[in-house]
């Protein structure tokens, strides 16, 4: 099912749409489906959750739903290419969500939910690679929402390494690999989520594939 806005969402959709060979389309998409499901599985082992959305409208309402569940209308949003590209801030505001973009700890300390993008993700461990701009939104609020595109998921750590190296060499001073929510087992070796960082992590995956792999 093609939806409006999909083409603008996914640069790589074009590649698929315009690919001459159906086989090629299939292989790219199967590979991604596998990576997505591995990522989902590994992240859940690490205590995180995922949501899959397939277009911009779904994305905006997924975020709005999550905020409604937490009974908050405010959202801390970190600077990020994908968020900018999708003009997400405008769209969220249009939904009546109060978006805060401050980078000042004192100003954002009370917020319940933070939204970030990510530079990349790792399927084999359920990991996100975040740049410094995302540090407050991924750290202070009790819930961290992270937005990634399906094609940002790499199979393993080796897959994200060139990107990580490039980021450091081009001056990214603060990178963080995030795997699940903050956790501790310091009291009686009992696992508790959310000791200093967020107790919840939800990764929203923008994927071209429809649920259940239906076209």
């Amino acid at each position: 099912m093609l939806r409006a806005g999909r083409q603008t969402l996914f640069a790589w959709t074009d590649v698929i749409t315009h690919a001459n060979q159906g086989y090629r389309t299939l292989s790219i998409s199967t590979e991604h489906t596998q990576l997505i499901s591995r990522f989902v599985q590994e992240l859940s082992l690490a205590g995180g959750q995922t949501r899959q959305v397939h277009d911009l409208a779904q994305l905006v309402s997924a975020i709005a739903d999550i905020l409604r569940e937490r009974q908050t209308g405010r959202l801390l949003v970190a600077a990020d290419n994908l968020i900018t590209e999708l003009d997400l801030v405008t769209r969220l505001r249009a939904k009546g969500i109060e978006v805060i973009t401050s980078d000042e700890p004192a100003q954002v300390a009370q917020l319940e939910v933070g939204l970030t993008g990510a530079l990349a993700a790792v399927a084999s461990s359920g990991t996100l690679l975040l740049a410094g701009g995302a540090s407050l939104a991924s750290l202070l609020p009790p819930l961290h929402l992270a937005l990634i595109r399906a094609e940002q998921i790499e199979p393993d750590l080796t897959g994200v390494w060139p990107l990580l190296g490039q980021a450091i060499r081009t001056g990214e001073r603060e990178l963080c690999l995030i795997t699940g929510p903050s956790k501790t087992a310091d009291i009686e070796q009992t696992l508790v989520q959310g000791v200093h960082g967020p107790g919840e992590l939800i990764v929203i995956i923008l994927s071209e594939d429809e649920p259940g792999g239906q076209p």
């Binding site: 450091i168 603060e174 990178l175 000791v195």
Partner: protein
């Protein structure tokens, strides 16, 4: 610096401490299982370990070069680097920095073993600064006024009730107001510390890795306190031991694959921060206040360790904690007893010797059984038992025992020869009270322990009368020399004979190798020099046999572990490596021969097996398990505990008796639940379990022989031949 310790009393207290025992038990069970599950692919694991080891060797060999590169990179990014020779210099630098920046709010400090090592908090507090540990476990430890009991789980031994009491005092609220649930207690700590993070003007962290090529420091954690500490206050000081530098980002990836999985079984921890120089404002519009990053490089004995041929290896440690989670003495008494001023467990010996001095290490070194299980799980393959043997040698009488006493205990070949020669008189004597008292007094052998009985005739003597069993078995044409280790020769000759008969029935032509004590007993006593002549003789004999085409097969894992492990250090690694392919533990050898499992097919039988520590350390345990598990009719139950608690002479020592019993009971508790024949490969394991469980315990090879024989005879009425005779004592 070092304190006079009464190790025996400390052990007794620890063994009697129920909360501690409970925590240690679940720590071992939980983390070992998680670690094992995290490395499903052995080949990948071994490849990672080899690579990690290579990187560490390279880095420490060229440490100055990489440190210079790191310094240049950090400075190029606008950070400051300070090289501190010792703790005093490091603390002085940090104090001056704090006062120069007018730090008045409490300093937030994340967990760092290196800071513990120099007691940084104490030094800063003495200068009037406030320091707040922010890792939950460290917070608890700081409130309790203790030292970490585990390298990554500093407060794992504390009960919830204790934590509630400590938090009530910290937050100045009645204990009744502290919630009961562990997540609610955690939430309370979260909100109390959150305020401190937001107010903090200075944060201190350790460093897990520092990448020389980019000047990036890497911090690994689960809670998020390190991220808070590095992100919120404008001033970040990172304290790192010199050994934490690694050359490249690619190297970092290898360690990130190994560190979390080895430590907690996580593929990655929740957060891995990669920080390169001081943080810059992300948005240009609103410049953040001046941010500073200071890297304090700490030597504090590391250069000396590097120059020391033995201790150098300890610098490869990445502090994952896997070695302690698998170490029986650690899991028996915890890190406060099996540990020194800062560092605990096996690797703690070398670190204490390196940074606090030999005396500190000598205070707990005796607790290492040199079983080698830690080396098997160490992501950088540090030969911890060897380090501890060297430290034992150097410590000499510092450990409270004179050389001649050690020598007497260590020469199992001489005591065996004497005892067997004069048996049964010797057996009567060593069971008589006066001699037991004397042995306890002079050699500290606990009089409550049943000593194994000397046997006459010995294996050597019996072999002279032995007539080879004829066979057309599948191993025809192979020549095997069975190694008559001292334990088998003098105490359990029937197991040696059973091994010989088993191999013969399988078709091998078997010789008994000339008896040469490998020196295991002396090694356990740290008498390395004294082992050298024994080792040379052993090597010559074994090399000659190998040259004649014999496979060298032994039944006592601890002796094989000496030949395959420690000998590399004693006679040179090249020479030892040449002999290695010919040295086999017997079950490992049979598995290697790819015998059809049907050979041993027979009646239904449940075998209950627990791997000998050194069987595991030399990598022969898996082979034994798959050999036994595949036999038609055999149902194999494998029991996992760190150690039976006997560990050679360890369990006989007076000071360790209670600990040994405690460890043994953890095993027998599990065995109790299982029906069937208990089979164990080590002579001391068999003695321990027989004593504790009252059940008969045999070597698996005896069962193999029985099954083989009963099969050969099973035609009509075929079961009537006695199994290998076990002569009466």
């Amino acid at each position: 610096m070092s304190r006079k310790r009464d190790l025996a009393a400390e052990i007794l207290r620890a063994v009697a401490d129920e909360q501690l025992q409970h925590s240690l038990n679940s720590l071992g069970e939980r983390l070992n299982m998680l670690r094992a599950a995290a490395f499903p692919d052995r080949q990948e694991y071994e490849a990672l370990r080899r690579e990690a080891r290579r990187i560490k060797e390279e880095t420490i060999a060229h440490l100055d070069k990489y440190l210079a590169q790191l310094r240049a990179q950090v400075e190029a990014q606008g950070g400051k680097v300070f090289l501190a020779q010792d703790g005093t210099e490091a603390a002085a630098y940090i104090t001056q920095l704090a006062s120069a920046r007018g730090v008045s709010a409490p300093i937030v400090k994340a967990k760092s073993m290196t800071a513990e090592e120099i007691e940084l908090n104490r030094a800063l507090i003495a200068q009037g600064l406030q320091v707040l540990e922010v890792d939950l476990g460290e917070r608890i430890i700081q409130l309790a006024g203790e030292k970490p009991a585990h390298i990554i789980g500093p407060a794992f031994h504390k009960s919830k009730e204790e934590v509630r009491r400590l938090f009530a005092r910290w937050l100045e609220i009645p204990e009744g107001d502290i919630p009961q649930g562990i997540s609610a207690i955690t939430a309370l700590a979260r909100s109390a510390l959150r305020q401190k993070f937001l107010q903090a003007e200075m944060g201190i962290t350790g460093v897990n890795f520092a990448v020389a090529e980019t000047g990036t420091i890497v911090l690994v954690e689960n809670e998020g306190d390190i991220r808070m500490t590095t992100r919120l206050p404008p001033l970040h000081v990172a304290l790192m031991g010199l050994e934490k530098v690694i050359p490249t980002l690619d190297d970092l990836r290898v360690f990130l694959e190994l560190l979390p999985r080895s430590g907690t079984g996580q593929k990655l921890t929740s957060y891995v921060s990669l920080l390169t120089g001081p943080r810059r404002s992300s948005s240009g519009e609103r410049p953040e206040p001046e941010r500073e990053f200071h890297l304090v490089l700490l030597d504090n004995g590391r250069s000396r360790m590097r120059a020391d041929p033995a201790l150098r290896e300890a610098l490869y440690c990445i502090r994952c904690g896997a070695c302690m989670n698998t170490c029986a003495p650690y899991l028996g008494v915890g890190g406060h007893v099996y540990g020194g001023q800062t560092y605990m467990s096996g690797i703690g010996n070398a670190w204490e010797a390196g940074v606090h001095g030999l005396e500190e290490a000598a205070g707990f070194n005796e607790l290492c059984t040199t079983c080698g299980r830690c080396t098997e799980v160490c992501p950088v393959k540090i030969d911890i038992p060897w380090l501890n043997t060297v430290i034992r040698q150097r410590a000499g009488s510092l450990t409270g025992r004179a050389r001649w006493q050690r020598w007497l205990i260590g020469r199992v070949d001489l005591s065996g020869r004497w005892g067997s020669y004069t048996a049964p008189l010797s057996n009567w004597l060593v069971r008589a009270k006066p001699l037991r008292l004397l042995l306890e007094k002079v050699l500290a052998l606990d009089r409550r322990r049943r000593l194994p009985a000397f046997r006459r005739p010995t294996l050597e003597q019996r072999f002279r009368r032995h007539r080879p069993a004829r066979s057309d078995g599948p191993l025809q044409g192979t020549k095997v020399a069975l190694l008559p280790d001292c334990f088998t020769n003098y105490y359990q000759p029937e197991i040696g004979l059973a091994a010989i008969e088993l191999l013969e029935r399988l078709g091998c032509s078997v010789e008994l190798a000339p008896r040469r004590c490998c020196g295991r007993g002396l090694l356990s006593q740290g008498l390395i020099e004294e082992v050298k002549p024994l080792a040379r003789r052993s090597m010559e004999t074994l090399e000659r046999l190998a040259g004649q085409g014999y496979e060298l097969v032994g039944v006592e894992p601890s002796c094989l572990a000496a030949l395959r492990g420690e000998y590399a250090h004693i006679i040179g690694s090249k020479r030892a490596a040449r002999l290695r392919p010919h040295l086999w533990e017997i079950l490992e050898y049979l598995q290697h021969c790819h015998l059809p499992p049907e050979l041993f097919a027979g009646p239904e039988q449940q075998l209950v097996y627990h791997g000998h520590c050194q069987q595991k350390a030399i990598g022969a345990n898996r082979a034994a398990i798959s050999l036994l598990a595949n036999i038609p009719g055999v149902k194999l139950k494998v029991v996992e505990v760190p150690c039976c608690g006997m560990a050679g002479s360890f369990g006989y020592k007076r000071d360790f008796y209670q600990l040994s019993m405690q460890l043994g009971r953890r095993l027998t508790k599990k065995l109790e639940k299982l029906e069937g024949q208990i089979v164990l490969c080590g002579s001391s394991c068999r003695a321990q379990v027989e004593e504790l469980s009252g059940r008969s315990v045999r070597h698996p090879l005896e069962l193999l022989l029985e099954r083989l024989k009963s099969k050969e005879l099973s035609g009509p009425g075929g079961h009537d031949e006695e199994p290998v005779a076990r002569d009466k004592l």
